[in-house]
Amino acid sequence: MTSDAAPRQEVIRTSIWQEEPEPDNPFAAAVCRCRGYDVYGELLGKASFIEYLCLLFLGERPTQVQAKLLEILAIALANPGPRDASVHAAMSAGVGGSPAASALMAALGVGAGGLGGGREVRVAMEAWEQLGCNLSDWEAFLRHPPHAERADIWPEMEHAPGFDPHAVRCATPVAQTLDTLAACGAGPHLPWLAGQRLTLESAAGAPLAMSGVAAATCRDLGLSAEQGEMLYLLLRLPGAAVHALEQAQLGFKRFPFFHGAVKYVGQQPDNE
């Protein structure tokens, strides 16, 4: 047997989760506390799921306004609908009989990027962190988005973050979500975004997208850009799950294959 060092009792450091073991099994928890609250001994039956989600992300029991914001956002994001690329990916897994986890992984992978995905929310939130509610700074940013000097796993953003490059006008559900969230009494980002939306859309050359609303909401919840990205990814999974299940039941013959859509425009096949 070879080993590079003697084993030592390393620990997982956390300010979120605390456990007390069962008396007869050090690997089984008898008590689990989340940020100080006994999850199974007290929270169950008292806290709502949204309150618990807030506690996990924010570290504290949410205010009524915070809980309301997150509940509205969670419903708005829960199902992007089967035309959305992330849900399309999940359905593609479902229709092929792939494992349930692969449907969610597909939705996460596709829904992680710079067009309507977690990456877009993070970039938009970083802009909020830098620009606050300064209209002239936002206009300058949207007209001339900064370019990264170094290459990365993420491609460069091809449009203003939080705005929809394909849309003609702000989609009705996006506007409805923004109006509902802005009326919750939170701030300052959502009310400011609602008030300046048309000016910002003009500077961006594109209408506001749901990712932009989500970014502003996450800022008003007090989340960091990294937390907002993670929460956005998480909240969009329910729709992907149920649409994957539905298409798995319907089968691949009733799912679009896009017959005739792929058109080869490169070098013509040779006569090898």
């Binding site: 390393e10 940020r35 100080g36 096949p269 090898e272």
Partner: protein, 264 residues
């Protein structure tokens, strides 16, 4: 982009990559009959032809594959992406899910894809800067000042990289040693020697591959699967152990530092 872009692409995906015909079973890769005319194509050859549209010599293809083996496929379940694969195997997930999750995690910052892309990009920018008259010393100094580090130099667990010599040996054997980017990677290592930022294999691999004419976007696609052998090995090994036995943790090994016990 506007609405017209979507309308133009509705049921229309023009591509130079290829297609598979549902009607006659033809499979075309960049204009070549994949199943007949390209039957002697190695897997690495097909991968790189599909990515770049260019063909590479057998030596270049051997270099790409050799760098995969040398740099990224350790049979070590403690390494973070390998650990994901191993945990999946030990928790009795599927091998496919294990690999997918672990490859996704390899888009990492302290190891994996970001240092590899970063090193490649750094060497290309360094070469361009030096070609424009800047000294390598000043370019390196600016990178350190702005970004506080240089991808491909420094290593999280072990400062000396045991993979450098095998990588150089492979490139020399194939007659592919000594290109400008590889030389540059060595020159940068000399500059950083006094800063305890030892060169790691990401820098030399990036230099060698940049010398084969790859772009950074192409290089990222090449390296995507670099870890897969180690990931599969770790998953398979963990799947043969008793379930749930990979690095079990006692409750007391959670070192809690949050709020004290309180009532809701």
């Amino acid at each position: 982009m506007t609405l017209s872009t979507l309308l133009e692409h509705e049921d229309n995906w023009p591509t130079r990559l290829g297609y598979a015909s549902v009607q006659d079973g033809t499979v075309s890769l960049r204009g070549h009959d994949l199943l007949n005319a390209l039957e002697d194509l190695s897997w690495m050859d097909m991968l790189m032809f599909g990515i770049t549209g260019r063909r590479f010599s057998s030596e270049q293809l051997e270099l790409f594959q050799g760098l995969w083996k040398i740099s990224a496929s350790y049979p070590e379940p403690r390494l973070w992406n390998n650990r994901i694969a191993a945990l999946a195997g030990n928790a009795r997930s599927s091998a496919g899910l294990s690999l997918g999750a672990a490859i996704a995690a390899s888009d990492a910052t302290i190891y994996g894809q970001r240092p590899m892309i970063g090193a490649f990009d750094f060497l290309q920018r360094a070469r361009a800067a030096c070609g424009g008259g800047q000294t390598l010393q000043s370019f390196v100094a600016r990178e350190l000042e702005v970004y506080r580090g240089i991808p491909g130099y420094g290593r999280p667990l072990r400062s000396v990289d045991e993979r450098l010599a095998p990588a150089e040996r492979l490139a020399r054997k194939l007659g592919l040693w000594g290109g400008p980017h590889a030389q540059l990677s060595i020159a940068v290592a000399e500059i950083l020697r006094t800063r305890r930022m030892g060169m790691n294999v990401a820098a030399i691999a990036a230099g060698l591959c940049a010398d084969q004419g790859l772009t950074s976007r192409e290089y990222y696609r090449l390296t995507l699967l670099a870890f897969t052998a180690g990931l599969i090995h770790c998953e398979f090994d963990a799947a043969t152990h008793a379930e749930g036995t990979l690095f079990p943790l006692r409750c007391e090994r959670l070192h809690y530092s949050g709020p004290a016990s309180r009532g809701w």
